[in-house]
Homo-oligomer: 266 residues x 4
């Protein structure tokens, strides 16, 4: 496991002070380490972690996911302790940073994360328990070699449309310009189908089912897959980094609201 | 009555300055007193209260409920002077800190709270008048020995669904993953019924009715009860601390919106 | 005309620094002048006005209405340059501080206000033009001797329910606990009727019509009147001070959303 | 090309410090250069650009559009990388500052803008790629000599009402007071028709079609045109400066929500 080196104290201090380069408005004050694949660049006080901390080296992923939680909580997509988020911090062997179980997503702290392996088990001792749905993050990371982040949210529209369209197996999302916000889609003339899985408390079984579906999607070619719904539960999506996964959530939420409100008008 | 000792001035000062430990993002800068059963940990300037102040020792409860009001006002669940909140600050004998009557919940001040006993009467002289619904807080505290906080809100969905389903006696909330956000519920395969009481201005009568229902729930066993609706009025819920009671409000509001929007689509 | 004396520079400075008394959370740092009938108490930098300024002495009213605009803009009740607000700054003779015409309510500046008399005319030279609907503020101030503030907003629900129920002459709002947020209403068992007037660009004619209706209401006795709708236009309400008028807006908006959503469910 | 001179370092510094003149609440601390045709006046750290920067002289336009993105993202009208904004920075020859392609509108940086000419091509080397819809900005600027800003957003209501009313060619918006927020409209007794174009990925063809429609509107006289919809895509509008274009977006969004919710109630 070899996450990128953490920023120096000086970099962190510059970040905390809120200064920005003359050339950048609302710019990432920290971190600007080009070796980091992720990074919304929003500054947080208190980073980097001290030497020897179990999350040392994961500062960027932690900061991005804390900010994701604050944003999605404010939007109403991650209320209470619902939702869970992960960043893939290594692939040889696979290692993910995942939100710990039962944390309020609008008030995540740096310690509310767990480093887990491809079995969903902690790679270090004395970590908090990882989310019950950890294996849904792992299976996405395993099947999709180019992604760097998996986000799972619970919105009202995702919850009820996954039920409304369950008999069809997917939510049909056709002809919207906003579909172009999903990676690889280049025209609104797309007949998009957002897959729906039945909800279950048996996560390993669901993870296997999702894994087979991902295999089928990859074999079929074309853009995506970008995500899926679980009936009366919520939305899973991913992206090459936290920013793209956040964008996919925003795009899906927008499209689901469009579909839901169109249903009411007809 | 013996609330925990307040933080020292130094602790309070550190809190107000916004510093956080290296290990914590968006972390509780104040208070970290482990003897405090509550505590969202959000810092507020001006605390602790000076020696001899009638709310001396209640700093954590005050700070948590002020923050609750700001949050719920922003969500639209506690607009105007609606809603009331309490924290159980002692049980031998029972004593609650309750919001004073008629205060705007988005702009609560430290003085907008009252310390009351198991009769709903002030335990100290010269306090503002407590909320008219104080006895609904007391009865929950009396019947449920493990709770530490009672929250009452007025949302649009709670108001109109309590009317829509009044003839059934409860709002049916079936099969949602988000039900697991209510303490003790471990599967979405739950047929949950959110009890509805008729509204009245005779609070002692309603408090007796709620008390008998709480007795029945406890006798029946199982998770909960977690809360109830009052017809065309609002929602009561509780939790072991302010954080859990806040979470229950968020979960109920999410579920009520799901149920309400599903009604519109069928 | 004799508005209260402005705060001293020292008071203003203390306000701007954000300090609060030890006894108060989120408390009014400025102004605390007990002779001021209004005052949400939110601090603003740059006040008081310098000697000789045309708004010297109106600092509290200006600060309260600027804050009202920011709040209502954020809620979506005063978007664009819609809405107008006033504070009654004197009654012998009548003088109002009114928002200037055409200002964005989310970004009001201190100079975006006009001092006008009982004819709706400026009492000082070189003021910006007052709102086209100034006389609707004046008539409320004239007929209702105990009010201190008039607020007019444009929400979606107020706009469309004023049209939906125009044929009945009022929006029926029956049996809601939240009605108790309107001054003088003490029970949910109230059959409340929110009057609707036809829209017009002839404000003096509408002001006369509103004046006659206010006379009728006062002659009939009982709580209120608290406000009225203009068809496909918006809501007028008032209160003894800015805080109460804000509360009436919040209560009406809540109730109108309840009525509107109930219509969709039946 | 000759944009206005940038503020001096002293002006910029004053802006960043957050100080405001005694006469202004929430006032523009920067820039107050009267030669600038645009300018919401909101301060940003880090400006002005250094000498020789490719956006030197465009500070006001950059700051206004960054703020527009933050505001519209918060409203849900510019989520993900959707939307694009421009300011006309010169007319002899025509030059526009346009958002770069694929940027998140809630987190725009100063470098996320491109200076382009009347062919939609960059006027300087080494700029990021401009938005794919650049020519829709250019055609508005060419046909409408008095505008200074073009804004394009993607809201849910704009997206679905553009589809619902496509067969009529426009959304009918009749009799609303809020229509007076569109430049030149002076009465609610206006039968307003918001034009809808079919969506396409062939922007030059759409730009031609829009151009012919603008010619027709101007030939017909009367207030406007103020904007148009693209089916299942979004809204284009403009104004004499960023503030007016923002207001037009707010007014249209309000009116579309009114029309959409009225449809649900009938």
């Amino acid at each position: 496991m070899s996450p990128s080196p953490p920023p120096t104290a000086a970099e962190s201090s510059a970040a905390a002070s809120g200064n920005a380069a003359a050339n950048s408005l609302a710019a990432p004050a920290w971190p600007l380490n080009p070796s980091q694949p992720h990074g919304l660049g929003l500054p947080f006080p208190g980073l980097p972690f001290p030497d020897g901390h179990r999350l040392r080296g994961c500062e960027v992923a932690v900061a991005d996911l804390v900010q994701t939680g604050q944003l999605f909580y404010q939007r109403g997509w991650s209320v209470g302790t619902s939702s869970n988020y992960s960043v893939i911090i290594d692939r040889q062997p696979l290692e993910l940073l995942v939100t710990a179980s039962g944390m309020h997503k609008g008030r995540l702290r740096a310690d509310d994360f767990v480093r887990i392996n491809d079995q969903g088990r902690p790679v270090l001792p004395d970590q908090p328990k990882s989310s019950a749905e950890t294996m849904l993050h792992v299976v996405a990371a395993q099947k999709l070699p180019n992604i760097g982040c998996v986000l799972h949210t619970h919105s009202v529209w995702a919850t009820i449309l996954g039920d409304k369209f369950f008999h069809r197996g997917h939510v049909p999302i056709h002809g919207f310009e906003m579909l172009k916000g999903l990676d690889g889609i280049t025209t609104h003339e797309t007949n998009y189908e957002l897959r729906i899985f039945e909800n279950t408390q048996d996560i390993p079984v669901l993870a296997d089912e999702v894994g087979r579906w991902l295999d089928e999607c990859l074999a079929a070619g074309g853009p995506g897959p970008h995500g899926y719904l679980i009936r009366k539960h919520g939305l899973y999506t991913w992206g090459k980094d936290v920013a793209e996964a956040q964008r996919h959530i925003e795009i899906y939420e927008f499209l689901l609201e469009c579909v839901g409100r169109q249903l009411l008008m007809t």
